[in-house]
């Protein structure tokens, strides 16, 4: 068999994984002072080895072969890091349970009403199977396919595919256009989330006042969410066209100006943000309205008796008590802004002018669906997936400390 030449030998990759794992676990041991050092080091090294090989070995360590570009090697190390993050977290959790004398796997719910007895598990699985089957066939298997396709050059209808290691990823690493797509996704998402949430909170607070016909307002305000982003795009393109748009018609008649909403920078970006805000705000209002109704009136009343003004009551009582809703909405709005706005962009601007509204998700759509270049687009969608998972984990870590789940 021909010897494969590596620029970084798999043995070195594995060794680095083992060292990092052992080091991390030694650090944890030093921090917590729990359990034995040797067992920590051993488990850490094992976790490190598994982590380092998890994503690289299935691809035959191809990214570390001598004929690969430096970008591929970088992607290789990123894959090692991702694998390590996964296994080190998992193993440290297991080891922690072991040190505290707990079972490695949670025993399951033993409260009354849980499925117990000889056929308990079987019964539970039978009842759950429709859901599990749907998840497996429509979510997990396609995800595995996505992972697989991201390492291929592949097109719909093509008689063959070609394994290209991590080239789809390393190409993105070097592609400045893709970087600006990603940056734009963050910028637009940030704008959408900030505006959609603050405006929704304002509107929901007003809706919470005892006014005549509040139910009708509420229904009307929530209604835009029932519209798909694509239709929202159509509505806004009718509103914002330079010559034939309704908004410019009104501006022209009143102020004598026409704003090229969809064909200049930054107007096009602002238009996309505003259209998305309009689309998603109903969802936010719905949750904030529900949230506001859970806030105990006596708390607010006693605060106002104690002399707290409207702003103080809002800032000190209402907003903190709404934090579970805010947290949930930040997560869902992030997902909306990253993943769901592409169809709106497709109708409104086609990513233009000059790619100024070309978000990363829109790139996935254009590459995969319009151009049937599925290898590249699955790689792009995986990157987006990792980013959103990363943001969500970050939000959970940072947000959860400040979220107050009260027992009221």
């Amino acid at each position: 068999m021909e010897e494969i030449a590596y620029s970084v030998h798999p043995a070195i990759v594995t060794l680095v994984g083992a060292l990092l794992g052992a080091g991390y676990f030694a650090f944890l041991r030093w921090q917590t002072q729990a359990g034995g050092l040797n067992i920590s080091l051993g488990v850490g090294a094992l976790a490190g080895v598994i982590g380092a090989t998890l994503l690289t070995a299935p691809l035959g360590y191809c990214m570390f072969q001598a004929d690969q570009k430096s970008e591929d090697i970088i992607i290789g190390w990123i894959a090692v890091l991702l694998g390590l993050m996964l296994t080190l977290n998992l193993f440290s959790m297991l080891l922690w349970r072991y040190f505290r004398g707990q079972r490695l796997l949670p025993r399951g719910d033993t409260t009354p009403g849980a499925f117990r007895g000889r056929f308990g598990l079987l019964y539970a699985m039978t009842v759950l199977s429709p859901t599990i089957l749907v998840l497996v066939f429509f979510v997990y298997l396609p995800m595995v396919d996505t992972l697989r396709f991201s390492t291929f050059l592949a097109r719909f209808g093509a008689p063959r595919t070609r394994f290209i290691c991590v080239s789809n990823f390393s190409r993105m690493l070097a592609d400045l256009d893709y970087h600006s797509n990603l940056f734009l996704s963050f910028a637009l998402s940030f704008g959408i989330i900030i505006i959609a949430m603050s405006l929704a909170l304002l509107i929901a607070s007003m809706l919470n006042q005892p006014i005549v016909g509040a139910n009708i307002y509420r229904t009307l305000l929530i209604w835009p969410y029932a519209i798909s982003p694509l239709v929202a795009g159509v509505i806004f393109s009718l509103l914002l066209g330079t010559e034939s748009g309704i908004v410019n018609r009104v501006l022209d008649l009143t102020l004598g100006v026409k704003v090229p909403w969809l064909v200049t920078v930054p107007a096009a970006q602002i238009s996309v943000v505003l259209a998305s805000v309009w689309n998603v705000i109903g969802f936010n209002i719905l949750f904030y309205t529900a949230g506001l109704q859970t806030i105990p009136k006596d708390l607010l009343e006693s605060a106002s008796i104690d002399g707290a003004g409207a702003w103080q009551r809002f800032a000190r009582i209402t907003f903190p008590l709404l934090s579970p809703f805010t947290f949930f909405l930040i997560v869902t709005n992030t997902i909306y802004a990253f993943f769901d706005t592409f169809s709106l962009i497709f109708v409104l601007t086609r990513g233009g002018p000059t790619e100024s509204t070309f978000t990363a998700m829109y790139r996935v759509y254009v590459t995969g669906i319009l151009s049937s270049d599925i290898g590249k687009s699955t790689a792009q969608s995986l990157i987006l997936f990792l980013i959103v998972v990363g943001i969500t984990i970050f939000q959970f870590r940072v947000g959860q400390r400040r979220v107050q789940y009260g027992n009221y």
Binding site: L153, R162, P260, V263, G351, S371
Partner: protein, 471 residues
């Protein structure tokens, strides 16, 4: 009692379910996917019904799919799980993919030298040459031409005459001159700007062909499989420079990449004097002009007066009908018979009046010039039915409808005007369109942009070839 009733009902349903298909077995069911949903779809349904009335044993059902891209995607996915139609309408950009996928039987192979199929004559001789040449692959006629268009100019005669422009512009220089003359009307608020049209990559392809230039190597992929892009040409640069001049002088309203609705709206409402669009919009634009109350005049697509060979010709656009492979011989013949009927002299003429797509046959043009009562060729949009054209000569009454046929009919047929064919056609459009867009809006180093895009597109094309080309 109730239970017995349910059981009997169940058995009856089962029996009926197995019997009905057995009874209907003699009818050949054909499904045809088309990318229209407006009155053009109504026309297609009506024509299918006319065909069905002629054949008791064939039933053609039309299915409307959102647009050209979606039809390609849906068909591709349909092939994966075996649910695809017998007949599908694929647009020009999908030609190479249609060939490479091996999913279709070519029309000429199906006909196999016969004079008629199920009573429908095969006479491809009078199809306009530039049309037949487009869909000829390696000397074989691939699909049956249906909706064929070409870009033409649309002018608001009153506005141009008000500015003292009495001759309709024919060249890029004419347009720039006319725009300079129209500027006072813009300044005093009579109109919004001189010109607007959809910023579509299709026009770039057309202008390359007009200047006798290829988009890709191997003579546009016609002399052999294309392997490289050919953007580094004077012709392509000239297009970018023309757009830049139009835009930076404020003559041109840009309404976004490949957006067709807003420019048409601006023109038909009389706010812009010059538009370029597909001939397929002729019917809609004529009616818009009549409603607004201005005189519409059309000419061939404006061309670069400085091109070394002058105007050489235009490429056709639109789509054709393909027949899926693997059909039983009688099904295949039924599908072919339908397409022969669909594109015969009368139907091709009627289709032209319904839309503005050119009649693909010379005999249809002759028919429209010598009409008789009872012709039932005009598609009446409100009622959704065919009515008589109440004139002897359609083109004398509606001269704007002849422009497109003349343009294609007088085009020199060579590998520039046959149009490019390569696998990444649709994928590449935003790239070479994007360079022109970027240069038009922001200027910059055109040569550098061309070099970068040319390399990117060549790489994509070679990847495609690696997956599809015969080894």
């Amino acid at each position: 009692m109730f239970r017995r009733f349910v059981v009997i009902l169940f058995v009856l349903t089962l029996a009926l379910g197995t019997m009905v298909p057995a009874l209907a077995q003699d009818v050949i069911e054909l499904e045809a996917w088309v990318a229209f949903s407006d009155h053009r779809y109504d026309w297609a349904v009506d024509t299918a019904d006319r065909f069905n009335a002629l054949h008791d044993d064939i039933n053609v059902t039309m299915l409307s799919v959102a647009n050209y891209d979606t039809i390609v995607n849906n068909y591709t996915l349909g092939r994966e799980d075996g649910a695809y139609p017998e007949i599908v309408q694929l647009f020009d950009a999908a030609l190479q993919f249609a060939v490479d996928s091996n999913w279709f039987d070519f029309a000429e192979d199906i006909i196999a030298g016969r004079d008629e199929i199920l009573g429908h004559p095969v006479d491809f001789d009078d199809i306009i040459p530039v049309i037949s040449n487009y869909y000829t692959v390696d000397g074989v006629w691939a699909s049956v031409a249906w909706n064929t268009s070409t870009p033409i100019m649309y002018y608001n005669v009153e506005l141009l005459e008000q500015a003292g422009v009495m001759e309709m512009p024919r060249t890029w220089a004419d347009i720039l001159d006319a725009c300079a003359a129209l500027q006072p009307l813009v300044d005093d608020g009579t109109i919004s700007a001189c010109a607007t049209w959809p910023f579509s990559p299709w026009f770039i392809e057309q202008w390359l062909a007009q200047q006798n230039e290829y988009m890709v190597n191997n003579e546009n992929g016609r002399a052999g499989r294309a392997t490289e892009f050919n953007l580094d040409t004077d012709a392509y640069r000239a297009i970018a420079e023309f757009y830049r001049e139009l835009y930076s002088n404020g003559y041109f309203i840009y309404e976004g990449f490949d957006q067709w609705g807003p420019p048409t709206q601006s023109f038909t409402s009389g706010k812009v004097a010059i538009m370029m669009s597909s001939s397929a919009a002729a019917r809609a634009i004529s009616e818009g002009a009549t409603a607004t109350g201005f005189t519409l005049k059309t000419t061939g697509m404006a061309y670069n007066q400085d091109a070394p060979d002058g105007w050489v010709g235009n490429i056709l656009g639109g789509a054709t009908m393909y027949i899926s492979n693997g059909l039983a011989p009688e099904v295949q013949d039924a599908a072919m018979a339908f397409l022969l009927f669909f594109s015969n002299t009368e139907n091709s003429a009627s289709w032209h009046t319904a839309s503005g797509y050119v009649p693909v046959r010379n005999s249809s043009i002759e028919l429209l010039k010598n009409l008789e009562p009872g012709n039932e060729l005009l598609w009446d949009i409100p009622s959704g039915a065919r009515v008589d054209i109440e004139t002897n000569d359609w083109y004398a009454a509606f001269p704007n409808f002849l422009t497109a046929s003349t343009q294609l009919g007088t085009s020199t047929v060579n590998n520039a005007t046959r149009g490019s064919t390569y696998g990444t056609f649709q994928q590449s459009r935003p790239y070479y369109g994007g360079v022109v867009e970027e240069y038009m809006l922001n200027g910059g180093d055109l040569d550098a942009m061309i070099a970068e895009t040319n390399a990117e597109l060549t790489e994509l094309l070679q990847e495609y070839n690696f997956l599809f080309a015969d080894e």
